[in-house]
């Protein structure tokens, strides 16, 4: 064993040779792998190209010709869907790192990496979507450098937390990159930073998941009273738990099929146990969420509003997309029904999308004269952002040890 160590050390120290071969290695890794004309590629490539054209137009002519934003509804789906909803779904990363590194539940270890990767990319792409919809994106560094700190602003905090959290997740994921590059020593250092990054990351997540809700606190008179309350931050935080986990469940079952060659038999078997465990957590989180919504509702005394179209919509969201999937999660972990867990996760995800859109767009200035409906161009860009994320996700998974086992030299170190 010792012999092997020194051999690798020698290779790493031999700079010239190794850097040249690293480049070659990187170049070869950039090339696409496997079949190119898959249905996913055939659909996603034109959509992304179209989005690129739309975005050129958007930066050339402004937001007006591309979007349907109004003076009353200044945030459209790029913000309401990609940023505010997308970030909720990235919540799985902090929940899983909490389970594995804080509660030491080793059972979930096999899905930590993929979840962190997904979270990391979600932040990069969805926070990136923010840039598309900033009116003056070249000023984006104003709140980061210089003397333009709007420190009393919730958005200022959220922006900073995004930035720091992306770094924390980068660190959490970096051992996988080191394994991919065969950088043994770097891996040791980076994995030593994991716990610190996890603790920092969970703290940041708590704050910015709730901060995303707190953004809307000042819009008291504009958001429909069934959705506005002073607990929005807590609701956003709690719902990000089951939003994130639902995505983990959903994504896990897709990856199991798409990347089945990468997953070892052992983790495939363990996967059902993981799903059962996650659905337990979802049940508890959703119960807390539903209960909180109920308390807030009773306290708010908006009974009269229930018998309006927005009221029906609210009831549908609460019962059809929170209570129902909660009961399904509950039932399925008691009965070991894996299929139902997956169905419940999809319903939960739809519910979270509804909730975020109801607050940021649908219920925003709900009684205004002009309703905002996104243009087809906004929809194309929104979808393209998600597709682009999936592309990178796929690229990383098929190259780095995310789903598959780490290279054999890793175990020796641990």
């Amino acid at each position: 064993m010792r012999k092997e160590m020194s051999k690798t050390d020698y290779i790493i120290s031999n700079d010239n040779d190794s850097s040249r071969s690293t480049w070659k290695f990187l170049l070869s890794e950039l090339k696409p792998r496997g079949k190119f004309l898959t249905p996913f590629n055939i659909i996603s490539i034109p959509v992304m190209l179209l989005a690129a054209i739309i975005l050129v137009y958007r930066f050339w002519k402004g937001l007006g010709p591309v979007t349907n934003l109004t003076q009353e509804v200044p945030w459209g789906i790029w913000k309401g869907f990609n940023v505010i909803t997308g970030v909720a779904f990235a919540g799985g990363a902090y929940v899983l790192t909490f389970l594995v590194y804080i509660l030491n539940l080793k059972k979930y270890h096999s899905i930590v990496r993929i979840t962190v990767l997904n979270g990391f990319l979600a932040y990069v792409f969805y926070a990136g979507a923010l840039i598309l919809e900033l009116g003056r994106p070249w000023k984006i560094f104003n709140p980061v450098i210089g003397n333009s700190f709007g420190t009393g602003s919730v958005l200022f905090l959220v922006a900073w937390h995004f930035l720091l959290y992306i770094i924390a997740q980068m660190i959490e994921f970096s051992p996988a990159i080191a394994e991919w590059l065969g950088a043994k020593r770097a891996r040791k250092i980076l994995s030593g930073m994991t716990v610190g990054a996890v603790i920092f990351g969970i703290t940041l997540s708590t704050l910015h998941q709730s901060g995303l809700g707190a953004i809307f606190l000042m819009a008291k008179d504009k958001i429909h009273p069934l959705w506005y309350n002073e607990f929005i931050p807590i609701q956003f935080f709690v719902s990000s738990i089951f939003a994130g986990l639902s995505l983990v469940i959903f994504e896990g079952s897709i990856c199991k099929n798409v990347f089945s060659d990468q997953i070892s038999e052992k983790s495939k078997k363990a996967h059902n146990g993981i799903l059962i465990g996650l659905s337990k957590i979802c049940t508890v989180a959703m119960f807390a969420y539903f209960f909180l919504q109920l308390l807030v509702f009773v306290h708010g005394k908006h009974w009269d509003l229930l018998n309006t179209p927005m009221g029906y919509w609210f009831i549908l969201e609460m019962f059809g997309f929170v209570l129902l999937p909660m009961l399904m999660f509950f039932y399925s972990y008691r009965r070991n029904n894996i299929f139902m867990i997956k169905v419940a996760s999809v319903i939960t995800m739809i519910g979270v999308i509804m909730n975020r859109l109801n607050i940021s767009i649908i219920g925003f200035n709900w009684n205004g004269a002009l309703r905002y409906v996104p243009t087809w161009m906004e929809v194309v860009v929104s979808v393209a952002v998600i597709l682009a994320q999936i592309w990178i996700f796929r690229w990383v998974i098929s190259r780095m040890p995310v789903l598959r086992e780490s290279p054999s030299w890793v175990n020796e170190n641990e």
């Binding site: 002519k61 402004g62 059972k107 009116g135 700190f149 709730s210 000042m218």
Partner: protein
């Protein structure tokens, strides 16, 4: 209060003007009139609906002149090309007029929302927008309870447009253009304290002409634009659900919680991690 929190963050660093206000406001809310904010009193019973303010405002700020006229039943709104509009409203007192623009709140939601301090409460009182800072996130538009900031969506380099009480003119010692040119003397410029006194005087001296309410004295924590009217402000098109507390108060609780979470959370997490360390062997043993 959120301004008080700003102090917390900025013990060292820029001593923004709004901080100074924030301090005084928070330390002694009763004495808010100690601060000599400049303000404008608009008396809707004097307003003739002639649109001189609209025309001169557009001229002074390089915006297109208004093409439509106030008409009862039609609600005209400020937008990226019109910083102020006058609306006609049919009431029991006949047709009355009401001018709308940014209210120049004492504790503006827009400035507390703005993450670059582009929207900014000046020492003197006007709330202004500073082009070189703004990144166009439009969070100010989300937050302003009066929907005052407007965005130039049709420009690749959009500005946020709203009334700035002619801040540049004020610095040169001139009156805001609307005040200077109003032929009916419906607009008066002065310190907020003086104008509130003047408004009360008008209410007392002209019984029957005014309702006993100065809009802006307390609304949204007090505003720099003050309104007198003969009919209820709801009839004039003001949102009746505007709260009396300032809007930045609403996110105060969250902002206060942030530092404590930041300190407590990591400690708690580390503690739990230590406490559950044994799990490792347990779980592995079980599997």
């Amino acid at each position: 209060m959120s301004i008080g929190r700003r102090n917390f963050f900025k013990v060292i660093g820029v001593t923004g003007a709004s901080l100074a206000f924030g301090k005084t406001l928070n330390a002694a809310p009763k004495k808010e009139n100690d601060i000599e904010f400049s303000a404008i009193l608009y008396d809707s019973t004097r307003c003739a609906g002639c649109q001189t303010c609209e025309v001169t405002c557009a001229e002074a700020h390089g915006l297109p002149a208004p093409v439509d006229v106030p008409k009862a039943g039609v609600v005209r709104k400020t937008d990226e090309y019109h910083r102020t509009v006058v609306n006609a409203i049919a009431t029991e007192n006949g047709e009355v007029y009401v001018k709308r623009q940014c209210m120049h709140c004492n504790e503006p939601a827009c400035a507390s929302a703005c993450l670059t301090q582009a929207l900014y409460k000046t020492h003197e009182g006007p709330v202004i927008w500073r082009e070189r800072k703004c990144m166009g996130c439009r969070y100010c538009m989300i937050s302003c309870p009066f929907d005052s900031p407007k965005c130039e969506y049709d420009s690749p380099n959009p500005k946020i447009q709203k009334c700035d009480m002619c801040y540049d003119r004020q610095k040169e010692g001139k009156l805001p253009v609307c005040v200077e040119n109003c032929p009916a003397e419906a607009l008066v410029f002065g310190t907020r304290r003086d104008l509130i006194r003047e408004a009360h005087k008008r209410i007392v001296e002209n019984p029957g002409q005014y309702i006993d309410h100065i809009y802006g004295e307390h609304e949204a924590g007090g505003t720099g634009y003050l309104y007198l009217s003969g009919v209820s402000f709801e009839k004039l098109g003001f949102n009746p659900s505007i709260q009396l507390k300032s809007y930045p108060e609403l996110s105060k609780g969250f902002l206060y919680a942030v530092p404590s979470v930041f300190v407590l959370w990591p400690a708690i997490l580390l503690g739990i991690r230590e406490a559950t360390k044994n799990n490792k062997s347990n779980e592995e043993g079980n599997e």
